[in-house]
C-alpha cells in the first residue's frame, strides 16, 4: 500500500505528469461541465448549415445548421464513459486471467496464452468492426469489444509480473503455509503487481480512448442525432473548408486527452521503475 503511495508521490513530482494531468482535467471538465453551460440545445437548428461564426452561434453551425459550440460541449461524455468502462473491464479481465495463468500454470496457462495469441492476431479496430458487423452499432457491444481488445495485452503483462513475483520469498512462504491459490493471488501477488497494472491501465486507457473515438468517427458509435465528438467529425469532415471549427474542436479534444493520459502514464512507469531500482539496491 505505502509502496503505491510512494510511486504516485514520485510521479506527481515529474513535470510531464503535471502537464498531462492539466490536459486531462481540461478535457474532462469540458466533457462533464460542458453540457450544463452549452448556450443552445445541441439538437436545435440555429443557423444556416455549415455557416461561420455569427451572433446566434459563436462558432457557427454544423452541416445540419446546429450550434457547433453547443454540440462540442455536449459531445464528450460518451467517449469518456465508454473508454473508462472498457479499460476497467479489459484490465480487470486481463489481470485476472494473467495472474491465474501464472499461479496455476498447466492447461489454464496454455488456454489463457493461446486465447491471447488469437485475439492479438486480429488488429483491435478490425476486432471491434467484426463484432459491429455481426450485431450492429450498439454502445454496450463496443465497450465489450474494446475491453476484449485490451485484455490480452494486459494478461501477458500481468502473467509476466506475477511469474516474477511468485519467485519471491514471501509468496513461497505463503505457499508453504498452505494458503489457497486464490488467496495468494489476491493477498500476495496482486498488491505487488499493482504498480505494473497501474501503468498498464494508463496505456490501455490511451488505446481505449483512441479506439472508442475512432469507432465513433467511422460512424459505428453513437448514432445521429446524438452529439458525440467522433460522430461530429464524421458528419462535418466534408465541410471542413467552410466550417473548420466543427471538425477541429473534437479532433483537438480527443488528441489532447490521449496525449495527456499518455504523459501521466509515462510518468507513472518512470516512478515505478525508479522505486523498483531503489528497492533492489
Amino acid at each position: 500500500m505505502s509502496g503505491r503511495g510512494r510511486t504516485l508521490a514520485a510521479a506527481a513530482r515529474l513535470g510531464r505528469v503535471r502537464l498531462g494531468l492539466a490536459l486531462v482535467v481540461l478535457v474532462v471538465l469540458v466533457a462533464v461541465v460542458g453540457p450544463l453551460v452549452a448556450p443552445h440545445d445541441p439538437d436545435a437548428f440555429v443557423a444556416p448549415p455549415s455557416s461561420g461564426p455569427a451572433s446566434g452561434a459563436a462558432l457557427g453551425a454544423d452541416v445540419l445548421g446546429r450550434d457547433v459550440l453547443s454540440r462540442f460541449l455536449s459531445g464528450g461524455r460518451a467517449i469518456l464513459a465508454m473508454s473508462v468502462l472498457a479499460t476497467v473491464a479489459g484490465v480487470g479481465a486481463g489481470a485476472a486471467a494473467g495472474i491465474a495463468a501464472a499461479i496455476r500454470g498447466g492447461w489454464i496457462d496454455e488456454l489463457v496464452m493461446r486465447t491471447a495469441d488469437v485475439l492479438l492476431a486480429i488488429p483491435q479496430v478490425v476486432l471491434v468492426l467484426l463484432g459491429v458487423a455481426a450485431l450492429g452499432p450498439q454502445l454496450w457491444l463496443i465497450v465489450l469489444l474494446v475491453a476484449l481488445a485490451n485484455a490480452p495485452r494486459v494478461a501477458r503483462v500481468a502473467r509476466g509480473t506475477a511469474l516474477e513475483i511468485a519467485q519471491r520469498d514471501f509468496v513461497r512462504a505463503a505457499e508453504a503455509a498452505g494458503e489457497s491459490s486464490l488467496r495468494i493471488a489476491t493477498h500476495e501477488v496482486l498488491p505487488s503487481a499493482a504498480d505494473a497494472l497501474l501503468v498498464e491501465f494508463g496505456l490501455r486507457l490511451t488505446v481505449s480512448i483512441a479506439l472508442v473515438a475512432s469507432v465513433g468517427f467511422l460512424g459505428f458509435g453513437l448514432q445521429p442525432p446524438a452529439s458525440d465528438w467522433g460522430l461530429m467529425i464524421n458528419e462535418n469532415r466534408l465541410a471542413i473548408t467552410a466550417q473548420p471549427w466543427s471538425v477541429v474542436l473534437p479532433v483537438v479534444a480527443v488528441g489532447v486527452l490521449t496525449v495527456g493520459v499518455n504523459l501521466v502514464t509515462d510518468g507513472l512507469s518512470r516512478a515505478a521503475a525508479g522505486l523498483d531500482r531503489a528497492g533492489r539496491a
Partner: protein
C-alpha cells in the same frame, strides 16, 4: 554434441514449432472470424437485406450463404473456399470478393510498404539518437515528442494533416484520395502521400521508444565500453558493436508495428477515402456484407501471424545466443 550441425538442427526444430503454433493461431482466428458472423441475431438474410426485402431475394441470399446447411458444414465450406482462393460472393455488389478486393489490396499494399519504408528507418534512427544522447536536451525533446505521437489516434493526425496541407493553410496535396475507377494508387502517387504520412506519424514513435530502450541497455554493456576505451570511432561503436545487439528487440517491435499498420490503414483509408481494403472493410461493415468482412478480417490476421513468424526467424538468425540457449 555442441557442433554447428546440432545447433542448426535445434534452431530448425525451434522454428518448426513456431510455424506450427502460427498455423494453429491462424486456424483459431478463422474460427473467431467465422463465429462472429454466426452471432447475427435471427435470420442473417433478413438482417443483411432489411425487412422490406422480397421473399425471392431472401431465398436467393439464404442459398448463397448456405444458411440451410448446419454450422459445421458451412464453416468447412467457407474454409475450403478460402484455401482454394475463393472468398465467396459479396452480398452488397453480387461480384466475387476476390475480384472486389484485388485492386484495393494492391493500393493498400503500396500504402503500407511506403509507410513502413519511412517509419522503420525514422523510428530506429531517432531511437538510437535518443540513446546515444541519453538525458541530454535532444533526448528529452525526442522523448516528449514521441510520447505525443505515440498517443494520437490515426484520425486525429490524418485530419490535422488535411487541415495543414490540403485545406486551411496550404493546398499542396489532395485531401481525398479519389482515383479514376479501376486505377490503382500505384499510378497516382500524390494521393498516397498524406495517408502514408499519417501512418508514419502514428507508428514511428513506438519503434523509436523501443529502439532507445534496447540501445540504452546495450550501450551500458562491457564490450561496448571496452570498444570505446580502445578508442574506436563513435560511429563504429554505435553501429558496429552496440546496434547488432539491440537488433533482436528492434526486429520484434518493427514486426509488431508492421502488423499494427494493417489495422491502422482501416481508419486512415476512411479519413482520405483511399480506395484500399481498409475503406472497403468500413463500407462492408456498414452494408453488413459478411463475406467481405470475413475475408478482410482473416486477411489481417494472416498478415499478423506471417509477419510475427518472419520476425521470429529473423530474431533467431540475429541472435546466435538465442539459438543455443533455446535449444538447451
Amino acid at each position: 554434441m555442441r557442433g554447428p550441425d546440432s545447433v542448426r538442427r535445434r534452431a530448425t526444430g525451434l522454428l518448426g514449432r513456431r510455424a506450427l503454433l502460427a498455423l494453429l493461431t491462424l486456424w483459431l482466428v478463422s474460427l473467431v472470424v467465422f463465429g462472429a458472423v454466426e452471432l447475427l441475431p435471427g435470420d442473417a438474410a433478413t438482417t443483411i437485406l432489411g425487412k422490406e426485402a422480397t421473399p425471392g431475394r431472401l431465398e436467393a441470399l439464404r442459398r448463397q450463404l448456405h444458411l440451410e446447411d448446419g454450422i459445421v458444414h458451412r464453416y468447412l465450406q467457407w474454409l475450403g473456399g478460402v484455401l482454394r482462393g475463393d472468398l465467396g460472393t459479396s452480398a452488397a455488389t453480387g461480384s466475387p470478393v476476390t475480384e472486389l478486393l484485388g485492386p484495393r489490396l494492391s493500393s493498400s499494399v503500396l500504402l503500407v510498404l511506403l509507410a513502413a519504408a519511412v517509419t522503420v528507418p525514422l523510428g530506429v534512427g531517432l531511437g538510437v539518437l535518443g540513446a546515444v544522447r541519453r538525458d541530454r536536451p535532444v533526448d528529452h525533446v525526442l522523448g516528449v515528442g514521441m510520447l505525443v505521437f505515440h498517443a494520437l489516434p490515426e484520425f486525429v493526425v490524418g485530419i490535422l494533416l488535411v487541415l495543414v496541407f490540403a485545406t486551411q493553410v496550404l493546398h499542396v496535396l489532395p485531401a481525398v484520395s479519389l482515383l479514376p475507377p479501376g486505377d490503382s494508387a500505384w499510378a497516382h502517387l500524390d494521393v498516397v502521400v498524406l495517408p502514408a504520412a499519417t501512418l508514419v506519424l502514428t507508428t514511428f514513435a513506438y519503434i523509436g521508444r523501443a529502439t532507445r530502450a534496447a540501445m540504452v541497455d546495450v550501450l551500458e554493456r562491457d564490450h561496448v565500453r571496452l570498444a570505446r576505451l580502445n578508442g574506436l570511432p563513435e560511429r563504429q561503436v554505435i553501429w558496429g558493436h552496440a546496434f547488432p545487439n539491440a537488433l533482436p528487440a528492434v526486429i520484434q517491435v518493427v514486426a509488431l508495428q508492421f502488423a499494427w499498420l494493417s489495422g491502422g490503414v482501416v481508419v486512415v483509408e476512411f479519413v482520405f477515402s483511399f480506395p484500399g481494403i481498409g475503406a472497403a472493410l468500413v463500407e462492408a461493415v456498414r452494408n453488413r456484407d459478411v463475406q467481405v468482412v470475413q475475408a478482410i478480417a482473416l486477411g489481417t490476421g494472416a498478415v499478423y501471424v506471417a509477419v510475427n513468424l518472419l520476425a521470429d526467424v529473423a530474431t533467431t538468425l540475429a541472435t546466435p545466443r538465442l539459438r543455443t540457449a533455446a535449444a538447451r
